[in-house]
Amino acid sequence: MSTPAVATSDKFEIGGRAFTSRLIIGTGKYRTFEEMKAAHRASGAEMVTVAVRRVPLDRSSESFLDHLDPSLAILPNTAGCYTAEEAIRTARLAREALGTDLIKLEVIGDQTTLFPDNEQTLEAARVLAREGFVVLPYFTDDLIMAKKLLDAGCPAVMPLAAPIGSGMGVQNPANLRIMRELGMRSLLCMPIEGRSGSLHYRTRGVHDLQSHGSQADCWRALPVLW
């Protein structure tokens, strides 16, 4: 468990790698690869998260990784998994394909809200941590679950800050503050953009992020430039 950092200019270390930027952003829902690349550049993020999927067999598959700036670190995720078993399998495949131990663990519990299944997440985290993965688990902001995930060997936890796609900004500052005060290393899991596309939603997310301070990291990409 790390102690809370006090400045935003310090290095951010995860999985044995140091980063200058504290933003880790997504790669989904962009209209074009060009737009994605422009957003990645503008964000200054040094790590992006990508999903694992079956390849299509009709030769229609574009090589997605080729559209990412090669300097970006890649954080594979288990998006779309609904059980610990699926997530574990996906993590192992990601490690085999990319040669990275990093995994953003997502086990979804509800199809409508995409809220995580904390119980399945913990189960998967325990298995993967034992296998040497650097597990970054997405979970709802329960303090005891955070403790258990850290005890399982996760170097940091990723509490949900707002319902996915809601663009509501940080909804649970009290819980996040407690985690921070207890020295838990948390990476804020938050959609910065609103589906409405309104600038207000986007900027509110960024302000929330700034007020959360240097412990805050963000996982949701900006669909347009800041």
Partner: protein, 73 residues
């Protein structure tokens, strides 16, 4: 002989080495991972892996997405 690739039946030659299947599918070997009958085949073992009738092959790659989104192919 018939095998299954990502859930779809496929006719391939007997004892087809795994890298040849990857080439047939025009996939970039360095960006994929392969399961054979539910077990990951390490990259170092691809050359020694000869496909047998009714083998079930799963091949995955990376796509944009995550952040808790559902499939975004």
């Amino acid at each position: 002989m018939r095998i299954q690739v990502n859930g779809e039946p496929r006719e391939v030659e007997e004892n087809l080495p795994l890298p040849k299947l990857v080439a047939e599918l025009e996939l970039k070997p360095e960006q994929i991972a392969i399961e054979l009958n539910h077990n990951i085949v390490r990259r170092a073992q691809w050359d020694n892996t000869l496909l047998q009738p009714d083998d079930k092959v799963e091949i995955v790659h990376f796509v944009g997405g995550g952040c808790n989104r559902r499939q975004e192919q």
